[in-house]
């Protein structure tokens, strides 16, 4: 199996998108007073950090959805690397911005929303993703999107690269060519 990478966004493009997303978040939530940002493990956390760096250093947290997945039977238990961290100020009554790198089926967002509800009672939840690649299996749509990318369901995927994990910032379309059988 070989894979081909086509750059979709380079670092300046990601930074421009993030700056615009940060402004949209503030507009939609009417200020930064009761705002908290929570990144979904693991690249969502880095995107959330980029968003925070754009403006007010609002409270931050992170969510590891391993225990809220709906496919444990299929994938088996995975090591829970991150664990979840609620912002110090809590989430009750806050506007919580859930941040992920790529929105696809909507199952991750579903799991993260469920987990948030077990933590407390947010006043409002906004879903914010750097890339929306389509292919929803649940009726959960992002409120704020950095870029829409058309992706074929078979043999194509979108990868967001962050410096902390991948050594650079960017977005690639990955096309896999399965060997002929």
């Amino acid at each position: 199996m070989s894979a081909e990478r086509i750059p979709v966004m380079d670092e300046p493009a990601v930074r421009r998108a993030v700056a615009r997303m940060a402004r949209e978040i503030v507009e939609k939530s009417g200020g930064t007073q009761r705002l908290a940002v929570m990144g979904i493990h693991r690249r969502g956390i880095q995107i959330a950090e980029l968003l925070r760096a754009e403006g007010a250093r609002v409270p931050a947290g992170s969510i590891d959805i391993s225990l809220y997945r709906d496919d444990l039977e299929e994938i088996g238990p995975r090591p829970i690397v991150g664990g979840s961290q609620v912002p110090n100020s809590g989430i009750d009554g806050k506007t919580i911005v859930l941040v992920d790198d790529v929105q696809h089926t909507g199952r991750t967002a579903r799991a993260a929303i469920n987990e948030l509800m077990d933590w407390g009672r947010p006043g409002r939840i906004l879903l914010c993703v750097l890339v929306d690649r389509g292919g929803r299996e649940l009726p959960i749509q992002p409120d704020i999107v950095g870029r829409h990318v058309e992706v074929l369901e078979v043999h194509q995927s979108v990868e967001v690269l962050v410096p902390e994990v991948d050594g650079r910032l960017g977005v690639d379309l990955v096309i896999t060519h399965p060997e002929a059988v």
Binding site: L67, L72, E74, I75, P77, G82, S84, G135
Partner: protein
């Protein structure tokens, strides 16, 4: 059936068959589970729909309740069976009891049994996951794991530490699980107690043997103090409880002679004034209640890791395309 998926395999019978990496996987997985018990809603849905039977052939409050909390906080459905009320008292064999439970479609059995080897025996005979909650004087793996997690929490590491297990080592499944686990993680391990309760054979496991508790205190970073298991003793192991306390009991006066602070563990239930004095049990270096808290997290981690999936089905799903 699903051995290959889980970090632990199908069952947790003891720490002896586990590798260092498997033990570390449980300890590391327990970390995020600690936080769930601090939440307002102490529940995650990960084992929703799984049925777990807690099959206790021996009395236990702490371990059974700890497993129950772990199961409930992972959203599993549970049934408790205490042997005294069950058909075991009517003469049914262990395997028949388990097969009848299996016929009601269960997923996991957590078992405590008075006979050494009972958990392994059952694990080989039923397809459900089996977790050993203590079998005779063989092993009590989740206790060993929670002791190691507690030591790591407070000392920052396990490798290179000197851990001494004091007391009734002969009858203790806790001692065996601790020895197997700690040695695999690179600790130095010693046992200490009256010669009648510290079998020489333990040297062959790779542990040091102290006959005087004062020597153990000079040597150790950590003491794990065991209960005198009066219910497992015929008689004649110790002259009297008072004498045991005088010679082997851990008191503040004894600990003050140590060159450094010693972390104090006890698996419970404690006999205050026998193997441990109150001012030690309640003292600043006691982590006995931290052990209890960690017990829930460790058991959640074990249940989670055993709950496993079916890789064949996952592969099939992958063929359908999935990112």
């Amino acid at each position: 059936m699903n051995q290959t998926t889980s970090a632990l395999g199908k069952d947790l019978v003891g720490l002896e068959p586990l590798t260092r990496d498997q033990i570390l996987a449980v300890l590391d997985t327990a970390e995020p589970f600690k936080e769930i018990s601090e939440r307002r809603i102490k529940k995650v849905p990960v084992l929703r729909g799984k049925t777990i039977v807690n099959l206790f052939f021996e009395a236990s409050t702490r371990t059974r309740v700890s497993f129950e909390f772990a199961e409930h906080r992972l959203s599993a459905d549970t049934v408790n069976i205490a042997a005294a009320q069950s058909s075991v008292s009517k003469g049914e064999t262990l395997v028949d009891t388990a097969r009848n439970l299996e016929a009601m479609r269960i997923d996991m059995v957590v078992m405590r049994h008075g006979s050494s080897g009972a958990a392994g025996f059952l694990a080989e005979r039923i397809p459900s996951n089996v977790v050993n909650a203590g079998d005779g004087s063989h092993e009590h793996p989740t206790q060993g794991l929670l002791d190691m997690l507690t030591i790591r929490d407070h000392m920052g590491r396990i490798e290179g530490l000197k851990v001494c297990i004091v007391g009734d080592v002969l009858h203790s499944r806790v001692a065996r699980s601790n020895i197997y686990g700690l040695l695999k993680l690179g600790a130095q391990v010693a046992v200490c107690g009256p010669p009648t309760l510290v079998p020489r054979g333990f040297r062959s496991l790779g542990v040091e043997v102290f006959t005087r508790v004062e020597d153990a205190i000079q040597w150790a970073d950590v003491l794990n103090i065991l209960r005198l298991q009066l219910e497992r003793m015929e008689s004649g192991f110790v002259p009297s409880l008072r004498e045991y306390n005088r010679i082997w009991g851990i008191s503040r006066a004894r600990l003050e002679k140590a060159p450094q602070d010693i972390l104090i563990l006890h698996p419970g239930p404690m006999n205050r004034g026998v193997e441990i004095d109150s001012d030690v049990a309640d003292g600043p270096h006691s982590v006995i209640l931290n052990q209890v808290t960690n017990g829930v997290a460790v058991r959640m981690a074990v249940l989670y890791l055993l709950a496993g999936g079916q890789p064949e089905r996952a592969e099939a799903a992958k063929q359908g395309g999935d990112a």
